[in-house]
């Protein structure tokens, strides 16, 4: 008897073929989706790194500066008040002399005048010099070697961002100045090295992008995160323990639950407006303060922490509670001695992810005055860290991206790299904690 077609395990029926084909197609879609995602990631990361890595290097010019006594301390008595009377503008001739001396010493022929030669240096040079003289008045009259920042166009020239064609109409630098740069590079006076000040320094004004750094705004972010952690964690955990373990199930708790979920989806700018209205206009907290930023971000992070804490409390099996209650523990003892420790890794993970989210948030900070030329004073104590005006990392990046000089653009990308390093570290920490401590039942 001929076997009925299609019943063999070895021979596929049309229907099975179709089903298998559908499965193969679905797998292909999935792989394509992942490939697209990965491609985007690769494009993003390569763009960020190719544009931003330059910010970690900076061009420096090494000069021997003669600290002339007749310019810096006319009375010759090293009185600090007298020395302070000489402003950074008074230091300009000294720097000009140093550049001229260096150029003559090297025997470089240039049609430039002293002022244009000194134009290769950053405007930050005079500030560096003045700071040094005030800190070391004894050095006046001696010749000291300094490593000054080069101005942003020179830096761009060495990094390939600025070319001889592109400066045709640029009044900040001339072709003759670039000739001098080439000569000084050949003589090892100008060199490009790693720039720690980009990571640790303060923001700089539009006239000197080469001096701008992320350091102070990093501190601003740090203080905000401190506020968020100190407020959101205890409030969030207390709220979720109550809702999960103690609260009766009725319409009121239902409403609260729905609202918490809704709050998690509220756009962050809304919290910014709320912060402006409540913390600044009503409570009269200072504007631009990391404390206010922290409070606003606390509001934003709370729902995230509550939701993740409740999820991890729920994941603890009821048998643990029952066992604790069964041997005579009170409800609170059962929660704090048994349930909470078991849920802790989940809570911690949720908190870290909430913090990472808050760290990268810019929108609410726009409204409470944390964007602008703000991150220029490093805080000197914990109180001033919380209360005196500061910016935050993402706000600093936004600010740099807005500025006119293309050199700030590079720094904005560099800032993104620093921010990403922080975010990746925090997320990795969250993953490690989860892997290390999470228990499954």
């Amino acid at each position: 008897m001929p076997r009925k077609h299609g019943n063999s395990l070895l021979e596929l029926t049309d229907r099975t073929k179709r089903r298998n084909a559908a499965e193969a197609r679905f797998k292909a879609y999935g792989i394509a989706a992942i490939a697209v995602g990965l491609l985007m990631l690769v494009v993003l990361v390569t763009t960020i790194f190719s544009k931003g890595l330059g910010a970690f290097q900076q061009t420096f010019i090494t000069l021997q500066v003669e600290l002339l006594e007749e310019k810096l301390d006319k009375n010759g008595n090293r009185d600090l008040d007298d020395i302070k009377k000489v402003t950074t503008f008074g230091y300009a001739p000294i720097i000009r002399n140093a550049v001229e001396t260096k150029v003559t010493e090297l025997g470089v022929e240039t049609p430039l005048k002293g002022k244009d030669m000194a134009g290769l240096l950053s405007k930050d040079a005079a500030a560096t010099l003045r700071e040094f003289v005030i800190a070391n008045p004894d050095e006046i009259g001696k010749t000291v070697e300094f490593r000054f920042l080069a101005q942003s166009r020179v830096d761009g020239y060495l990094k390939g961002r600025v070319s001889r064609d592109s400066i045709e109409n640029d009044k900040n630098i001339s072709a003759e100045q670039l000739d001098l740069v080439d000569a000084l590079v050949a003589a090892d006076v100008i060199e490009k090295t790693f720039n720690l000040d980009f990571i640790l320094g303060a923001d700089a004004s539009d006239a000197r992008p080469e001096a701008a750094g992320m350091g102070v705004s990093m501190l601003g972010s740090l203080f905000m995160m401190f506020v968020v952690l100190a407020l959101a964690l205890p409030i969030g955990v207390a709220a979720s323990i109550y809702l999960e373990e103690f609260a009766p199930q009725n319409w009121l708790t239902d409403i609260i639950e729905v609202n918490i979920s809704n709050l998690a989806a509220v756009p962050s700018i809304v919290f910014g407006i709320l912060g402006l209205a409540v913390f600044i206009n009503y409570m009269h907290l200072p504007t631009s303060a990391p404390l206010v930023g922290g409070l606003v971000l606390t509001l934003m992070t709370l729902p995230t922490i509550i939701i993740s804490t409740r999820a991890s409390l729920k994941a603890v099996p009821p048998s643990i509670r029952d066992a604790a209650l069964g041997v005579g523990a009170s409800k609170m003892q059962a929660v704090f001695h048994h349930v909470l420790p078991l849920a802790a890794p989940g809570i911690l993970t949720g908190t870290i992810i909430g913090l990472a989210q808050a760290l990268g948030e810019t929108a609410p900070l726009l409204l409470i005055g944390m964007v602008g030329f703000i991150a220029s004073n490093a805080p000197d104590s914990i109180a001033s860290g919380l209360l005196s005006p500061n910016s935050a990392m993402p706000a600093q990046i936004y600010e740099w991206a807005k500025r006119a000089d293309p050199a700030f653009y590079e720094r904005a990308w560099g800032g993104i790299i620093i921010l990403l390093v922080f975010l990746i570290t925090m997320n990795t920490l969250a993953v490690i904690l989860r892997r290390r401590f999470e228990r499954r039942w």
Binding site: T87, L231, V371, N377, A404
Partner: protein
């Protein structure tokens, strides 16, 4: 663990309540994004040269800055408002209502507004008439007002190439927009004779005619940019036909990407603006709350330092960055030194 949390939250609450007592020791400035670069240059140099902390400079626009300025007197309000236009009567009134009566007006210099396009595109030599014909909602054809029919720059002016009209102009919240409307569009409106027609149509009302003049077409040819000049630049980079409105300082920092158009035959530069030849420029100001002088340390010193010859003079860092120095700077310095308020001046 709960004790630690308790301590942490107590500390945080204590910090919150302590703020009221903490005194502010740095000058706070907010306002125009056009003035921001100049103010930050001054703030930085001020922090370096004086024993006061570096002032804090926020942006947000002239109107927003003046609004915050007029909120009242006290440590929680800003000390200085930057503005790319003069303070309005309305704002002075709002200030007075909130108790801010003594305002010192300081003019720091002039800023040019330039028209620039992609460096590799066509160059232009504009007149205000060209801009009016390109962007106005209604133009006069044979002494009649009709909807703007111009599609390319060649339609506007026979000397121009047939490049589609695409303008990126500052949005209405910018002080720059006002200058653009007044010095370019309105001037062009008057030159083409459309102003008279608008006046007729409005029964001789000049105010209404002016308003009709500066009404721009809404068919996508003219795009309002509410962000900064960096956004305008990005738009031009992606649309090579685009022509954008920039501040002189911004253009001078981006000469590798932009070429500047002349206006009425004059190339914009700090020199041509200082002499008044280049027509599209405006004064920049900052306003100081007199009540804060002596309360906020360094406020008067900041204002004096800002207008000193070393800073705002023709060879100072501000002028190097693109500000056109004020020929009457000495008068301003005197006014700041004597703390002459606006009421006292007029």
């Amino acid at each position: 663990m709960s004790f630690v949390k308790l301590t942490a939250s107590t500390l945080a609450i204590a910090a919150v309540s302590a703020t009221a007592a903490a005194a502010r020791d740095q000058v706070q400035v907010a306002g125009s994004s056009t003035v921001l670069p100049y103010a930050s240059i001054v703030a930085e140099a001020f922090g370096e040269n004086f024993d006061f902390p570096t002032p804090v400079v926020e942006s947000g626009g002239s109107s927003a800055g003046l609004k915050r300025f007029c909120e009242g007197v006290g440590e929680n309000t800003i000390d200085v408002a930057n503005a790319s236009r003069a303070i309005k009567e309305k704002e002075i009134k709002a200030c007075a209502e909130a108790g801010v009566t003594d305002i010192i007006e300081v003019r720091i210099g002039y800023d040019g507004i330039v028209f620039a396009s992609d460096i590799n595109g066509n160059g232009f030599e504009f007149t205000p008439t060209d801009w009016f014909l390109a962007l106005s909602d209604k133009v006069s054809v044979d002494s009649k007002l009709v909807d703007n029919p111009n599609k390319t720059w060649a339609d506007v002016n026979g000397d121009f190439p047939a490049q589609a009209i695409q303008a990126f102009i500052p949005g209405t919240k910018h002080g720059t927009r006002e200058v653009f409307e007044e010095k370019v569009i309105l001037a062009g409106c008057e030159e083409t004779g459309a102003f008279e027609l608008f006046k007729e149509a409005n029964g001789g009302d000049e105010k209404a005619a002016e308003k009709a003049c500066i009404a721009l077409r809404t068919d996508g040819v003219s795009v309002d940019i509410d962000g900064d000049y960096t956004e305008t630049l990005a738009r031009i980079e992606s649309n090579k036909d685009g022509i954008g409105v920039f501040g002189l300082a911004f253009y001078e920092n981006n000469t590798d990407k932009l070429q500047v158009a002349t206006m009425s035959g004059i190339v914009p530069s700090t020199e041509s603006i200082a002499t008044g030849e280049y027509p599209v420029s405006r004064p920049l100001f900052f306003y100081v709350k007199k009540a804060h002088i002596g309360v906020i340390p360094g406020l008067k010193e900041y204002a004096e330092f800002f207008v000193s010859d070393e800073v705002a003079g023709p060879d100072g860092p501000l002028s190097e960055y693109g500000l056109v120095a004020d020929p009457e700077l000495a008068k301003t310095q005197e006014a700041v030194a004597s703390e002459a308020t606006m009421g006292g001046n007029s």
